[in-house]
Amino acid sequence: MAATQVVRSEWTKIRSVASTVWTLSLAVVVTIALGVLISLLSKHEFDNLGAEDKLSFDPTFISFAGMTLGQLAMIVFGVLVVSNEYSTGMIRTSLAAVPQRGTFLFSKIAVATGLAFVVGLATSFVTFFLGQAMLGEHRAELGDPGVLRAVFGGGLYMTLIAVFSMGVAAMLRSPMLSLGILMPFFFLISNILGNVGATEKIGRYLPDQAGSKIMQVVTPVDDDTPYGPWGGLGIMALWTVAALAGGYLLLKKRDA
């Protein structure tokens, strides 16, 4: 009863601010446009690749290349959905209306997650089909083994990255602080940790590195990652659950 009320209210909130439309459309446009561009470039580069690279050529994964940037817009969406309450002071009005703080937080996150999932899934399918169209003869089909899982997983990946950001924002409250930590982390630090030999073994347990495994169809030749596609997504889901739990515990405990 209370939860449905909060869900309806949160739906009104989320659709009545411009930032929702802006961040989500930016995520869609960037992911698709960059995916198409990189697919097109990869097609022309294919003949110049070495034998090993040709073996591990993964047309599905290539069409998702835009997600490295598109996910940043998803992060902004996730952060703003939660931290808007704090930066405006609405949180006091909201919590006065719904003293059950857990119900409030999780209903809010459920609404935003649903929206992120729909947008993420649609983006994932569109970027796959457009990307494959650009790849021409090197394309993959949706019916090929593992491809449907990868495309569906692309939608899940975008959703989880947004939910993880919501959890972090619920802990940190300030939008500037949350974005200041999340953006450089996912854009730079995670990539650096994942590509430097010494830290690679730690880096691949970071949420984005582990989660993006779901979008791989062809495993690279010398790949020694100890988890599979769903295992990777599971690791990302654990990160998300941890962030949400942290956000919930802090919200429950501290003064609004």
Partner: protein, 410 residues
């Protein structure tokens, strides 16, 4: 009914609210008064279950807020008029709050009409003035048609018409049997709106009584009597004679006498009998604002200091007279004396004596030498009080007399 028992809130080493106990009853407007930073908003947040008290408790209708069944329909609150997402339309803002409490959307349009915002319902609230924001916040508080209403500084930023409207709204809500709890730092506003007053300072209870009692306890009628400035012995003579007749006489800054306990005709007769000429005999009433200031002056956290304007003062053109300060005006720490029937200050003791009489009040613009403010000398703060009046005020004593009278006072 809101009931606080031993409510205490500490933020680290700072105690924001200490051992506060009070009741807010239905059917009346209860004013919640205190200087800035005295703990009013913290108390309001604790009532709404937003902040957890360090000790003590506060309940609404017997329940702590977080345990209150259907809280949003029982309690409506305006905490901060600016706590709105600026990019959201006024109507969407209210609609989201209505849905949060299971209130039908029809009610949103009703309250928009009640607060007079129906024409800007589809406008983004970042374009709202502070007064419009207050109206939006009041609309949010009224959404659930609650029996208990809390308003934190509702008249801030409102125009006179809006202030009158809020005042009537509060009274109407209370007349319907609701509990109305309004915080303010404006005594004058509360004197007109509230039926009951709770005054706090530094987080502690200073006074909890009805406005009627507050007025009779604190507002003192007095007569201002002025004898010829040139003849100080006349003033002493009159003082003696008035005191003998049972009046209480307090000297004022500018040499006038503040007389309580004697009606005006009697003062006139006594003066006549003692052969003292009067330059002024006028009735006055110490305002509630003064009573409130006196009560809270020991508990003001954010007191402004003198602006020495070091290095910023323009040298006066040669021959120009510095503007004359008006005695008794702009003097920090000078409030009306306490009501005489109490024989002393009822609550907070005044901070020592009123300004020493022997010191000519160095006005902010009458500093002796430009660029050299006398250090250590208590100076009135030009911003802490009403602006000093024009020097040409008829009742103001000429500056020449000022020093003379200062000597008299010793």
């Amino acid at each position: 009914m809101i009931e606080a028992v031993g409510l205490t809130k500490r933020y680290g080493a700072k105690t924001a609210v200490y051992n506060l106990s009070f009741q807010v009853r239905p059917g009346a407007v209860t004013g919640f008064l205190g200087p800035n930073g005295s703990g009013k908003s913290t108390t309001m947040r604790m009532i709404l279950g937003l902040d957890n008290p360090s000790s003590g408790q506060v309940t609404i209708g017997g329940y702590p807020y977080r345990k209150l069944p259907n809280a949003a329909r029982q309690v409506g609150a305006l905490l901060d008029a600016k706590a709105v997402h600026g990019g959201r339309h006024a109507r969407s803002h209210l609609l989201s709050l209505a849905q949060l409490s299971g209130i039908p959307a029809r009610r949103v349009d009703e309250v928009l009409g009640v607060v007079g915002l129906q024409d800007v319902a589809k406008k983004r609230s970042k374009g709202f003035s502070l007064g419009m924001g207050q109206r939006l916040g009041i609309a949010a508080a009224l959404l659930g048609d609650p029996q208990v209403l809390l308003f934190d500084e509702p008249v801030n930023g409102l125009d006179p018409e809006g202030i009158l409207w809020v005042r009537n709204l509060m009274k109407a809500l209370a007349a319907e049997g609701r509990t109305v709890f309004v915080s303010s730092h404006l005594m004058s506003e509360m004197a007109l709106t509230a039926d009951h007053l709770i005054v706090i300072g530094r987080g502690q209870l200073l006074s909890d009584m009805s406005v009627k009692d507050f007025i009779s306890a604190n507002s003192a009628d007095f007569a201002r009597v002025r004898t010829p400035d040139t003849e100080p012995q006349q003033r002493e003579k009159l003082t003696a004679s008035l005191t003998e007749a049972g009046g209480q006489v307090l000297p004022e800054q500018d040499g006038a006498l503040r007389v309580t306990g004697l009606p005006l005709p009697r003062i006139s007769d006594l003066a006549h009998d003692s052969d003292v000429r009067l330059w002024e005999l006028s009735p006055h009433q110490a305002s509630l604002e003064e009573a409130y200031m006196r009560m809270t002056q020991g508990a003001v956290d954010y007191r402004s200091t003198i602006d020495p304007k070091a290095g910023l003062q323009q040298p006066l053109p040669p021959g120009a007279q510095p503007p004359m300060p008006v005695p008794g005006q702009g003097q920090a720490g000078w409030y009306a004396p306490p009501a005489p029937q109490h024989g002393g200050p009822p609550y907070a003791p005044p901070q020592g004596q009123p300004m020493p009489q022997g010191q000519p009040p160095a006005g902010p613009y009458g500093a002796p030498a430009p660029g050299a403010p006398a250090p250590g000398q208590p100076q009135p703060n030009p911003y802490a009080q009403a602006a000093p009046q024009a020097p040409a005020q008829p009742s103001a004593a000429p500056a020449a007399d000022l020093t003379k009278k200062s000597e008299d006072a010793r």
